[in-house]
Symmetry: C2
Subunit: 196 residues, 2 copies
């Protein structure tokens, strides 16, 4: 399905992410992309057949690296609480290092454009779900997380809180320490969802 991307392609994807976070969907033009890459507009088309393909590659690259990241972060030996914290810690560190990709979390702006893009966005959401769900379920089974509400509702609350955290970070122009603030938020969330 997803072909391996070349080094140049990755550079372009990174430039695209940078532009997206800095100036939003409206700013992501071939012209700006070329300027960011320091070569001409037409050179872009040597590496991608279309703009749509660039966006999709960006999202797919993101989905994949998030998936990898999740897999490596969590160890089976950890308690649900530890896993919960680790997952988010990992996430915050990733975005701290690659703030251009915050766009992934709330890629609502891209929503619309094309059917294929929408599907790829859903895929990213799905990746996060896939890794969060078993942790929540295990936590509830072991009665360390509350069973007062369903797993779906718990996940919804957790994901919503996370998304808003990232949103605030972006609006604040990345001016505060996301891994510090983020981990505080995770602790509060944990306090709230632990069964008493």
């Amino acid at each position: 399905m997803t072909e391996a991307i070349s080094g140049r392609q990755l550079e372009i994807i990174e430039a695209a992410g940078k532009i997206l976070t800095a100036s939003g969907v409206g700013g992501l033009t071939i012209k700006n992309l070329a300027k960011e890459m320091k070569f001409s507009e037409s050179a872009i088309y040597r590496h991608f057949p279309s703009k749509e393909e660039i966006i999709i590659s960006l999202l797919e690259y993101l989905a994949k690296s998030m998936d990898d990241r999740y897999k490596n972060a969590i160890s089976a030996k950890q308690t649900p609480e530890e896993k919960f914290v680790t997952v988010f810690q990992n996430q915050f560190l990733f975005f701290k290092k690659n703030p251009h990709f915050v766009v992934a979390v709330f890629s609502d702006g891209l929503l619309e454009e094309s059917q294929r893009i929408n599907e790829t966005i859903s895929k990213i959401m799905g990746v996060k779900m896939k890794h969060l769900m078993p942790i929540i379920l295990e936590g509830q089974q072991k009665k360390v997380f509350t069973n007062a509400i369903t797993s779906e509702e718990l996940i919804h609350i957790v994901m919503g809180t996370f998304r808003l955290q990232m949103f605030k970070w972006r609006v604040a122009n990345f001016q505060f320490d996301i891994s510090r603030n983020g981990n505080n938020m995770v602790q509060s969330l944990l306090t709230l969802i632990k069964s008493k």
Copy 2:
């Protein structure tokens, strides 16, 4: 500051909201707006000096009607829990009636365009905060809401959950009953934040 808007202007604002919901930010062009209004593109400029002004008027109209709506919904006699539920119930009913405006609420997509638009979006966020904050505070003081985490964190979690709910509704193309699903979510949230 905000001048009163004429009947025609309101019609245009509503048409803009309709387009935003149906085709997203990218679809909101003067051409489409004129088509929706069933007159020429240039006629739009009889009523608004620029497209930016249309978007800002839309957002400001939204902020105002949300503020009014909040004020009328909550009565001093209610318990914090009741107020909490009422606020959201009210919100869901509003959007059920005017789904075109959902785009504005989590208008991360609009975010970019212009400084003035960004400020107006923040204003909308602020309105919600303004009404939610005293409810949370009162609830914590009366010890009906948990004091295990701070008010700011509580509000963050609540707002994040709400925003995600609206996001899901939009992605689902408004196909489920937001006031039903929404109220379920509010109940879960309440269960979680009540002190035990």
